[in-house]
Amino acid sequence: MKLTNIFSRGLVMDNPVFVQALGMCPILAVTNTAFNSLGMGMATTSVLLGSNIVISLLRKSIPAKIRIPCFIVVIATFVTMVGMILEAYFPDLNQSLGIFVPLIVVNCLILGRAESFASKNSLVGSVTDAIGMGLGFTGALVVLGMVRETFGFGSLFDMQLFGEAFEPMALMAMPPGAFLALGILMAAFNKIVYAKLK
């Protein structure tokens, strides 16, 4: 498969969020503002990139029988590192992402890419795959975060959009709003992008 194909597949055709519906927990939980979404997306992408690189390099020395525990240890190591870095340098972001930082470990997207791609492909391919999937994930998160922040707080990346008269739709910032907004966005994605590509 060509590298450009690997890359764009993660971004659009097999978009981890809108098409595969992977890693739903952080998608719903931390997207109340665009900034939080971006932070979560970047954190997940770095873990994905790290784990894809290591697993692709080690793919010949890991016996098939114990590959899942090995993958999990590699992923958990990167997650813990990212968590420490966030806590040290971005304490506010770390506080708002909360428990979902350690939970990147069980994001099915990362283990899924390790199992179905990195453990079978070369380093270059795995890196491209990680970047494509990571950007697809981040992009979807940020879109959802922007929609929810606009309606829920009347702001975008913390900049106020509307005048004093705007009454924020608090529902969008709360759990039900996450489900509703993602459901509607997914339907819109199906309608526009996916239908066109087919």
């Binding site: 190591t77 829920g152 924020p168």
Partner: protein
């Protein structure tokens, strides 16, 4: 059998390498994290007890064993106590709401700062807004210190009220006589 030994060995190697990497990262970041949390405490102490030039943490059993109390600091000016800062918490909707309460003179609340909370964004987290917290300013610890709750954030505001009340009663019972 040889298979099992080989596999456990590989898993062992991977885990120990990851342990080593993490230990290293931890030693790099630990200091920064600790420093930051100390800085945060220092800056809130300074804004709550503006007259003080020196702070001391009080950690005798009598104080820290009290319910809802986490840490207590005394502020000194030229060697004599001018106020206290009490770190206390209340049970909010999304977990503990931790606040720092400043008490100066013979029992006036100089201010309340929210140190950490995980309340619902857009609703419960309104308790961090100055327009809510400033209502505590000037309250007297010997009287009722609770303030009106925010509509839509009743549980969260009650958590702050509980924490401030705990700090006030600690002052009345123990700190006042120091």
């Amino acid at each position: 059998m040889r298979d099992i030994i080989k596999m456990s060995l590989i898993l062992l190697i991977i885990t120990s390498v990851s342990g080593m990497i993490l230990g290293f990262t931890n030693s790099m970041t630990e200091g920064i994290i600790l420093e930051r949390s100390l800085e945060e405490i220092a800056s809130s102490l300074e804004t709550l007890i503006t007259d003080a030039d020196e702070f001391e943490m009080l950690d005798d059993e009598e104080i820290i064993s009290r319910e809802r109390i986490k840490e207590v600091y005394a502020g000194y000016e030229n060697g004599s106590i001018v106020g206290f800062a009490v770190k206390s918490f209340g049970q909010g909707y999304g977990g503990e709401v931790e606040v720092m309460v400043g008490i100066i003179g013979d029992g006036t609340i100089s201010g309340v700062r929210v140190m950490s909370q995980s309340e619902t964004p857009g609703l419960g987290d309104k308790i961090t807004e100055e327009s809510f917290l400033e209502n505590y300013q000037g309250k007297i610890t010997s009287e009722d210190v609770a303030i009106d709750t925010i509509g839509g954030a009743t549980v969260s505001s009650k958590a702050v009220n509980d924490a401030v009340e705990a700090a006030a009663s600690l002052f009345e019972d123990i700190l006042k006589n120091r």
